[in-house]
Symmetry: C2
Subunit: 388 residues, 2 copies
């Protein structure tokens, strides 16, 4: 068991009807000038936008709409920082999915600094404080509602980078699973794949403890079972709630305190895919997952290989009831394919032309030579080719 | 899945050597006047007391030694409040087990109020703020290092009452499993029993979700396995660390977010035992556990009975590999007896003479008629008689 230093101060308000019940009470703790950040029109179609404005009708409201999936530094982060500085925003209310919230975190940090916002995002300049963030999270996927990080893309350089600061934990996250009843199937599936992958990145490592294994295997079993339920019945509250619960805990570390670091290799590789092609993150992760597993199974030797075999076997045994590492890898592939996720890069519009470039980008920027199973440029290229 | 509103702001610093590594940095965030609270002499014998004083030699140190197991309102809480008020204490450093920390929480809350400290403890007067608390926890048991509650006894009235306030979450908890290498066997066992019972109180309820079950079953399996390891080899770091990790998460709710409330019936009954006889809390819980299980199995009917059968069966199946509810109850009894916990009240010096009085006290004060399986005075008396 490795030493850890863990803190997640975010208050989670979870369940049916929690926004109507508690948003006003929560927002009353902050000042009067509120920036509401959101994405496309879905919160307007669902009525959530109107509900929030009505609940906050005594506040001075500013808005930043149009935040993209894979949120962009330019224009979104820059526009948000400008509004916050100009209008002395007291609190930012993020209403939407993980992309809106990730973007909000970068805004909240950069708006409290005189440094170049890009330097804040890449950590060249330190985040020393942030505007308080409250969020209403509408998509079960990234776990951004319970962590201190966000992923920001810069189109000019194909960069997709993680921004972290303890100052950008949401103060309060509202999670009402009924908001996910009307999600497009594609987003439901991508969210589940995103969360399963978050868990796998923490499960597949060198040093791990048994109760974390049980927790993570239980969470993945829950996701596997419940995603099938909501494909049949999108408004099944229990299934939607269990999915949202599992995804909320995905990225703050609570699944695996005391486990050693893995390096999050599948995320690192996927960030190149969605950085270069703007594909849906969860779909990219689903595609990469079985290929990364196969690569580490086939390319390792000695003690590391024994670790790899043990992890892949245990995961398959306790999630899918499989017996061998190969069956485990096949089971996760077949599960994703069975629920309807495109499982090749060609299906999401990516061919071999930029594989070398992407592998180089990952090898240069993601430090995977230090990962649990170290990956070099040729390993990354081989995994990506296997994904075609 | 039931709605929940959850927050645990405490920073956990866990592992070998963390006090030497980070105590000064942590304490530098607070003012200069430090009250150190502790219990008997064990921290002096172990060298921890000297280490802490050396690390804090630039601070103005006050001390409250002698805090009792089952900490007493009078003298300990009152004495601590007096020191804090007289010397304008900036931060309290609790060094010891859960009893020291529980007492510290009551001091921290009552010292910031002009109301009668007993009224603060029983909630008659509100806790509106508290002196910041840092702790070095030396006993793997109560989980007080990661929750906002404490249990305080008042000898005059045989009261043993829980005190809760969101203001008394420790700011930072230092958890070094090596401190438990030299614990007396009795305390190691009682701590494990305490934690298993915390988990069972959250597991045995009406509405529950599958990933919580997996987490809790995994934690109990870990405790059952690792306590046997440390009985053989008290300085096995991995086993001590896994035990401490499981106990730290025991009481803040993270094991069972979204589960319905159970009423914590075994704790309620045990509080009467240790309130009237000052026995070791974990031993009292171990004794009550199989008798409470048997009582609810035999006394319920209809849908509630089906729930009871399902919970007892699942617990036994997934922790001990048993098949029937009776085998599950026998397995937990035999596990406790096998590791050396006294499993009857007579063995801990309690006879039938005050059972009626204790049952009356519990029925009057603990609200068990509202528990998942409601218990009235005659049920409580029957359970206690079964414990003799």
């Amino acid at each position: 068991m490795v030493n850890f230093d863990y803190q997640t101060p975010t208050r989670l308000i979870f369940g049916k009807g929690v926004v109507a019940e508690k948003l006003q009470e929560v927002m009353a703790q902050y000042g009067n000038r509120v920036l509401i950040t959101y994405g496309g029109g879905s919160i307007k179609r669902s009525g959530l936008y109107d509900q929030v404005l009505e609940l906050l009708k005594d506040k001075e409201i500013y808005e930043l709409p149009g935040i993209e999936p894979n949120p962009k530094f330019n224009p979104s982060v820059l526009a948000g920082v400008r509004i916050c500085k100009e209008h002395h925003i007291d609190v930012i209310l993020s209403v939407g999915g993980g992309s809106v919230l990730d973007c909000t975190k970068a805004i909240a940090g950069a708006a409290c600094s005189d440094e170049d916002p890009w330097d804040i995002v890449i950590g060249k300049a330190p985040t020393l404080k942030a505007i308080p963030i409250v969020d209403i999270i509408t998509l079960a996927a990234t776990g951004s509602e319970y962590d201190s990080g966000g992923v920001i893309s810069r189109t000019e350089s194909n960069d997709k980078l993680a921004y972290f600061s303890p100052y950008v934990f949401p103060a309060v996250s509202f999670i009402d699973p009924t908001y996910t009843f009307t999600l497009p199937v594609k987003q439901t599936l991508a969210g589940v794949a995103d969360c399963i992958n978050h868990i796998m990145e923490q499960y597949f490592c060198g040093e791990h403890i048994s109760m974390n294994d049980a927790f993570m295997e239980g969470a993945v079993r829950s996701l596997v079972r419940n995603v099938k339920v909501v494909l049949e019945k999108p408004d099944d509250y229990e299934a939607r709630a269990e999915i949202f619960y599992a995804t909320t805990l995905g990225c703050n570390g609570i699944y695996a305190l005391g486990n050693s670091a893995s390096g999050w290799p599948m995320h690192a590789i996927e960030h190149a895919l969605s950085g270069h092609y703007d594909i849906t993150h969860g779909e990219g992760l689903a595609i990469v997952t079985p290929r990364w597993m196969r690569h580490i199974l086939n390319s390792t030797t000695g003690e590391l290989h024994e670790q790899v075999v043990e992890r892949i076997t245990s995961f398959g045994q306790n999630v899918f009831g499989t017996a061998t590492p190969k069956e485990s890898i096949q089971a996760i592939h077949d599960f994703y394919k069975g629920i309807g996720i495109p499982m090749t890069l060609r299906e999401v519009g990516i061919d071999e032309s930029r594989i070398g470039e992407m592998a180089h980008h990952v090898a240069l920027n993601e430090g995977l030579d230090e990962a649990w199973v170290p990956l070099h440029e040729e390993d990354i290229a081989a995994i990506l080719r296997d994904c075609l």
